[in-house]
Amino acid sequence: MSIFELFSRNKEERSANVAKERLQVIVAHERRARNAPSYLPAMQNEILAVIRKYVEIDNDQLQVDLNDDGNCSVLEVNVNLPK
């Protein structure tokens, strides 16, 4: 680090760390989607339609993940309802 950088340096987080964290999240998400059964997107849409009968929510307020634990698969459904 040079003298010039010492004074001009801002306190922002190092961008490489941001890159790593973002990649870990998206890559894990895409791997799950890749290995997921083909019915999952259709099922997600139907769950969304059922919830919308009662509460209006956006697409990104519903998260459906299928996690394989070896012995069994766990379907994780996360719904954020508006206040």
Partner: protein, 269 residues
């Protein structure tokens, strides 16, 4: 028995053709009869990187469609008599690459060659899938940059599910990670993903690290595979890469920033 190696990445512009040229030249120089195939139908560029663009008469698609024999289409490298180039077609439709056609050409090449290097086009469409379909090994070329790492992971997924080996329940394609355009000084500053970060995310064994180097542009300007520039850092890094591919255990070089002089450290640069 011939080994088919695909050089792939998903993302464009990360160094697939540079790597295909360097690795095939390195293998041929080590005494292994090698052919390098350009799978980028419609956008061939391996020929210009290898300095044989004016010697192309017939191409890969001509051979698949039976318009030319393999021997008519293969171009013998002028620097190394163990190296041959099979150029892509510049004009035809990329759907001209059929699975059966590609397999027939590869089977014919297997009789004659020890290594068959498949230079993949960018993307995950037909051409890229054909390039990797019959591979025994894959070199996944990745820049230390978010879009490149993400695309490499997509390509790894395709290798694991849509290759011949995956579809026929054979041992999986042997995957290798090659990091290119690496700049250790920026890693120290926290501005670039480190080698460990990329290995951690992709979980593939590291074959080599090619430093960001001016030698690469000079080499492509001249049509000389950069591995022939033995004085350059990139050339030496590719030599190490080829040696590792052949089973030699070599430490990684050019992964640490060079020490700066006192004045450089005080005033930067």
């Amino acid at each position: 028995m011939a080994t088919i190696i695909v050089v792939t990445s998903g993302k464009g512009g990360v160094g697939k053709t540079t790597t295909s040229a360097a690795v095939s030249m390195g293998l041929a120089q080590a005494g292994h009869k090698t052919v390098v195939i350009d799978f980028d139908i419609g956008l061939r560029n391996l020929d210009i990187i290898m300095n044989c663009e004016r010697r192309v008469v017939f191409d890969f698609v001509n051979v698949i469609q039976g318009d030319a024999s393999l021997n008519q289409a293969l171009i013998k490298d002028k620097r190394c008599d163990k190296l041959f180039i099979l150029p892509a077609s510049q004009t035809r439709d990329k759907d001209a690459l059929t699975k059966d056609g590609v397999q027939q050409v590869l089977n014919q090449l297997k009789q004659d060659f020890e290594f068959i290097i498949c230079d993949s086009p960018a993307g995950i469409e037909h051409g890229a899938q054909m390039a990797l379909y019959f591979a025994d090994k894959a070199i996944v070329v990745t820049n230390p940059e978010v879009s490149s790492v993400r695309d490499s992971d997509r390509i790894l997924g395709i290798l694991q599910s849509k290759s011949y080996r995956a579809e026929n329940n054979m041992p999986p394609v042997d995957e290798h990670l090659l990091i290119t355009r690496f700049d250790p000084a920026r890693v120290i500053k926290g501005e670039m993903l480190s080698i460990a970060d990329i290995e951690d995310i992709l979980a593939v064994k590291l074959l080599g690290v090619i430093p960001e180097s001016q030698a690469v542009l000079n080499a492509s300007n001249n049509g000389t595979p950069v591995i022939l520039d033995e004085k350059s850092d990139a050339g030496q890094a590719y030599q190490d890469t080829v040696a590792r591919l052949l089973g030699d255990d070599r430490p990684h070089r050019f992964t640490e920033a060079q020490k700066k002089g006192f004045l450089q450290r005080v005033f930067g640069g």
